[in-house]
Amino acid sequence: MGLILAILVQGIQMVLVLALAPGLIGFTRKVKARLLRRQGPSILQPYRDLLRLVRKEAVLADNASWLFRNAPYLIFATTWVAAALVPTFAAGLHFSWAADLIAITALLGSARFFLALAGMDIGTSFGGIGSSREMLFATLAEPAMIMIVFTVALVAGSTQLSTVAEFMVDHSTLRVSLGLALIGLIIVALTENARVPVDNPATHLELTMVHEAMILEYSGRHLAVIELAAALKLLLYISLIACIFAPWGMARQDDGVLGMLVGVVTWVGKLAIGSFLMVLFETAIAKMRVFRVPEFVGGALMLGLLGTLLLFVSRSF
């Protein structure tokens, strides 16, 4: 009985992240539009877009290979699995032992690997430029993420996100190294989600595209699946930041239905606050030149390294 319940809760988490992800994108677009004093589309617009795309026929380039057709599903699957493994409303879910934070990072790496390959499949210059830049950013963002994981893991004594979240609730302290890790993680999150100082999710100007350039050839259901994966990734990163640095309100393993409900409500609240802050930052800042980005992401790597070094020197940092 307990096992079935545990699997059920895990299933709810999987469905919930999938259901909320487009809404999160809609919310960020709405807030951004309001901050620019525009009315903006409805929060539900991404759901309608996805439905519309899914129903359309997929237009493939003449020389598209099997990789091009299968990559969207693999990208979506790896991102979804990663997002399902991050504790959102409850810690200690049944399958949370399947992968720790390093594995989640690597899962996102797999998604990126396929996305970059898909961008190169058709053989237009756009795809190539997007893949090449994406891999450049990844070469710095991934080690930065690993160093941030090190920092967090050294404080909490575990790379397992559920354990980390419970540790942070029980021993909430101000730590220099955690501060460094938080800033680093925000930089990584902005880079990985192709948000403004790094990439502009709304642009289709050739020379500035990174993420959009890779998926330029996609259409119909393939595009829908990739867009959904991107939304899931944004949700994942905000949940991740919330889970490590603001885990309050999260339900414990043995909490009842009420605890779970409280967890869901606070989690949605955290998502809203997180995305609002992100949009606020985006509206206040201009996009960088591509070759300024390595310095920006490299900064995150340095912060992560610094945090880890401080912790290696003394555990009280």
Partner: protein, 220 residues
């Protein structure tokens, strides 16, 4: 509560190191000035927190000096100066940002290695604060070394001085007189350097200190 107050002090000192790194990262002059103002704000917060924790009212004065002088007056004046000198579009890169940041991390590591064993009998939090203050000082020096522009060098110098103040307040008990005299000597230094800057520019049409080197005697 005791634990929390120490942690907060720690975090603020760590914040100073972080802002020092941001200064190291920033290669545009106006951005550098803004970050420097943030540096001073964090310093004054840190000093004020120490004042509150140690219940030492004179430290509030130090905090106020830091806030008014270094977070407002000097950055505004420098801002003005930059605009008047017309160097606000200058971008300077000496050796690239990546290696400089790596060097900065090396310096932080060095100060940890030097301070932690040296003050082994002091209580752990205090000596770590001291180590962080030393890092701020070394990073200030690094900023001075890696910049060519005289204004960035001034900023580096003043961030170094911020590190000194941080070390002093952490060590419980730098007399207020010393504090004020240090602050004012910095102000005087600032004015003198400012005057010199204009003179230098009049003479050489640049404030790039590299250019001054070319006029030294004995150079081939």
């Amino acid at each position: 509560m005791e634990r929390f107050s120490l942690d907060a002090a720690h975090l603020l000192a760590g914040g100073m190191v972080l802002v020092s790194f941001m200064m190291l990262y920033q290669n545009r002059i106006l951005g550098l000035l803004n970050v420097f103002a943030a540096h001073a704000v964090v310093l004054s917060l840190s000093v004020a927190w120490q004042a509150y924790v140690q219940s030492a009212p004179h430290l509030f004065v130090t905090a106020a000096i830091a806030l008014i002088l270094k977070a407002i007056i000097i950055p505004v004046a420098l801002h003005h100066m930059v605009l008047r000198l017309g160097v606000h579009r200058d971008i300077e890169t000496v050796g690239g940002i990546g290696p400089t940041m790596l060097m900065g991390i090396g310096l932080v590591a060095l100060s940890m290695v030097v301070m932690l064993p040296a003050a082994a009998e002091a209580d752990p939090i205090a000596r770590e604060d001291l180590a962080l203050a030393l890092s701020v000082i070394l990073l200030g020096l690094l900023i001075m070394v890696t910049r060519q522009n005289a204004i960035s060098q001034i900023v580096g110098f003043m961030s170094l001085e911020n590190g000194l103040v941080l070390a002093a307040t952490g060590a419980r008990g730098m007399p207020l007189v010393v504090e004020i005299s240090v602050a004012f000597s910095v102000l005087v230094a600032f004015i003198v350097i400012g005057v010199f800057l204009f003179r230098i520019r009049e003479r050489f049409d640049t404030i790039d200190t590299q250019a001054l080197d070319d006029f030294r005697e004995g150079r081939e």
